[in-house]
Assembly symmetry: D2
Homo-oligomer: 152 residues x 4
């Protein structure tokens, strides 16, 4: 459906995961990816919970945002990168499973903006449950030359 | 401006911060609060950054969301608590400072929903810079009896 | 997938369309509906356009919001109604077709909140083009007794 | 606070209001403007209401979106224009007044994206009541040369 501009996009996305200190610290791992989509997972630990013993919304938001950025990155040229301009997340159900899986799908790629949707599932022995859904607007920037936006 | 229903709301909000494993692990600290508002801070560490060496959007989102929940909690009765139903965050500028401060303000309290706005500032030697702004919808729930929403 | 509580839900949704002055004035028409979903259409007229001769974002937003409310209404009991608490809409492409069609799908029904997604398509002789996507949070209220939220 | 690039920005914004068929048809009128902000008003008519006899969310959304675009337009160069990329609106209270007033303020101008906030008030004999608040992301485009985003 979508055109790949960088034949080495898989390595590129792996780097987006490996080199981001916060998501490494959180425990996020790349599961799989393809043109316009990406899936990441996270094993839920006690440190991810909030006072009510469910997964903190910040963990779900981080997973949704970072996986969206990775999905958007699959369609970039070698000299482009993305930065989240904004996202909205609906917390649909409390997440109590042992594992979270997020699948992000590019809804509309663009030269300047890419719109991506992320679905976060709580996975137990049974079927996965959709616990959150986000829509993410990514700004597409050039690594060299004039910086685009958001500028300082 | 807003009516306080629980005279011990300060202790209550302190608990909302202290007992949430994820924000404790992240390093979030309560700065101050009053009826309808709350301020929290975070010392930026290398583990909070993303691959481009700026603070990860997930850190800003967690800070915005949790401080909003604390602000909403200042107006609750003793048998109520809040859960984030959804939030939207605009990442306005890249956050590079040594410290983040978030101030959340209730825009509209309600029996079932409370709407809160959070502003996240990057603080350096100079003046603080607004780096993100979020609008957060909190569902107000009762701790006993039939659970309200979002239900499982 | 979803349980219908009011066997006369079709009449109910038809009323939601017929009795809303603004969407009648706009030209919105019910196409079809079922448990948890609704489709509405609109013939594009010159009065719907903005200065750049594309359909105004306000028209797309109204169509997305109202169709979402209708979709949420299919799952209500006879004494319930919905009110939009918030929505976010991404304008993906400029809408230039002769006709707009919106399909709204309940993502998560609830006793207090229902989350609905709306997709707006621009329809020409060719295949329909997705021009906007919205996520809508509906507050579920009782027609009698104590009013829920948003309260005045 | 903000720098004006086009000394004739007032005429420009007046055109943004006058030439947009949908908002003219709706009854939207420019009240005042300055660098980075704009205020518009609307006299509420029966055709603006929904089935529950309150102002339709689509009217509030249109007013919030268009006034935001006008506010963003005050800071543009002569060869630039804006297009809404996305917006989120919280409906805080039901709007029942005879008149609506919207004030939009640029939160962060940019070369590619401008972030604007809109507040919609219901005005009666008494003080105005805040009924809705929106955050709007505008894409900044060039009128000539290569089109930016959102592209087809």
């Amino acid at each position: 459906m979508f055109t790949v501009k960088n034949p080495r996009y898989r390595d590129r996305v792996q780097q987006v995961i490996d080199r981001a200190a916060f998501v490494k610290d959180l425990g996020l791992e790349l599961i799989d990816l393809g043109p316009g989509w990406c899936a990441c997972g996270l094993v839920v630990e006690p440190r991810h919970l909030q006072q009510t013993h469910v997964v903190h919304a910040g963990v779900l938001a981080t997973l949704a945002d970072h996986t969206a950025g990775a999905a958007g990155s699959t369609l970039l040229a070698a000299d482009e990168y993305v930065l989240t301009a904004e996202f909205k997340i609906n917390l649909l159900r409390t997440a109590r499973g042992e594992r979270l899986v997020c699948r992000a799908q590019v809804l509309k790629p663009g030269r300047i903006l890419s719109i991506v949707e992320s679905e976060v599932f709580s996975v137990t022995d049974e079927a996965p449950t959709l616990v959150a859904k986000a829509s993410v607007t990514l700004a597409v920037l050039k690594t060299s030359g004039a910086k685009a936006t958001p500028e300082k």
